[in-house]
Symmetry: C2
């Protein structure tokens, strides 16, 4: 059995969970408190970050992009990047958009401030950062809506890792109750479609002790 | 002819320049002052960031990872990721190390503070950030040295995008004179080998007006 070393609200770990499930690959999860810098964990990934995937044959894979590209190469039956080089370039452009730009402008300002800081004992959330995140997210929600007016899914006609990366980030922001769904019906309709996919459902059951999500978090008709 | 929209000291643009040159692909460069948010540029890459590559057939490619993966797919003759899925996973893990971890812990603290802030009129460099970058870089230099004791190049026996990504970041830090070469002979020997490659040489001729590099920057026997 594959083992995914992860943290509950890491969007990069969520991306791997959904990618594995979409490809029909079984795995078990093990929480890795990366900040404790366990020597056995650092031996697997000297960067000290999750996700780390231990594959069935013992291959240890670190770095979220390295993992998704590896899974796509080894298990191509259900492709998640696209059918040809141009389609894959578009999917990867959008993965970069969410994993870098959305992460920096939104996830870091909202999820890291509200949850990670508390867990790591790094003090009070920075209210200026939270305000910035709450402003920035509208730009991204509008972009999701714009894409979905032109395509069935974010990168094209097929569900892809672009949808998975975007929904992984958005789901963590939704967990802290900061997604302005009412202002962005296009993005909301897209997210409802993602939420209803069996591979995505397990994320909706995640619960951080002491930090319950808002009621609509797991609701398919939010 | 391909056109690369770039900024001189962007490590991500430098990565693409070296990747293109290593693969023997001709290109011309055009400086894109991304912060001016030129409408024609935003139409090509709504993320508003460089690098953007306009390929010979007019295909517009944005996002540094999307570009390198596309080049590897379309021009596989000189592979830069590795020969098999495991080798590619190791190369991509190290690309992630430098493009995310080194970028956050070193490049942002040194190059962004010393050069980008000045260009963008964002005020004085933050001296605490600079000190943090100067401490952090030792960890990365030691890791490069550790890898090179075990392998010919960072990801294995072949020169790869891991070397290119690492050297792209390091070259920008070297431009501001903050690489402690004397403390890390292993990393220094590796960088001397990278520097001597024809595909890397053009980077050593880069000059930012008003910000000359230290004398050793372009020296192959530094």
């Amino acid at each position: 059995m594959r083992t995914l070393l992860h943290l509950w609200l890491s969007p990069y770990c969520r991306k791997i969970r959904v990618a594995l499930a979409t490809k029909g690959l079984d795995f078990e999860m093990q929480v890795e408190k990366a900040w404790e810098r366990r020597p056995e964990f650092l031996a697997m990934n000297p960067a000290g970050s999750v996700p780390v995937l231990i594959d069935e044959d013992g291959t240890i894979l670190a770095d979220h992009m390295a993992i998704t590209e590896y899974l796509e190469e080894i298990h191509p039956a259900i492709p998640l990047l696209g059918a040809d080089p141009r389609a894959r370039a578009e999917t990867r452009r959008l993965i970069g958009w969410f994993d870098e730009k959305f992460a920096r402008e939104v996830t870091a300002n909202l999820v890291d401030e509200k949850i990670m800081k508390r867990f790591l004992g790094l003090g009070q959330p920075n209210s200026a950062a939270i305000r910035a995140g709450q402003v920035n997210i509208h730009h991204h929600m509008a972009y999701i809506g714009w894409l979905c007016e032109r395509r069935k899914w974010l990168a094209g006609e097929e569900f892809s890792l672009a949808d998975i990366a975007a929904a992984a980030h958005l789901s963590t922001v939704d967990y802290v109750g900061d997604v302005p769904w009412e202002d962005h019906p296009g993005a909301r309709e897209w997210y409802a479609r993602v939420k209803s996919r069996p591979a995505f459902r397990p994320l909706l059951a995640d619960r951080i002790p002491g930090c319950p999500p808002p009621k609509h978090y797991a609701d398919l008709d939010f």
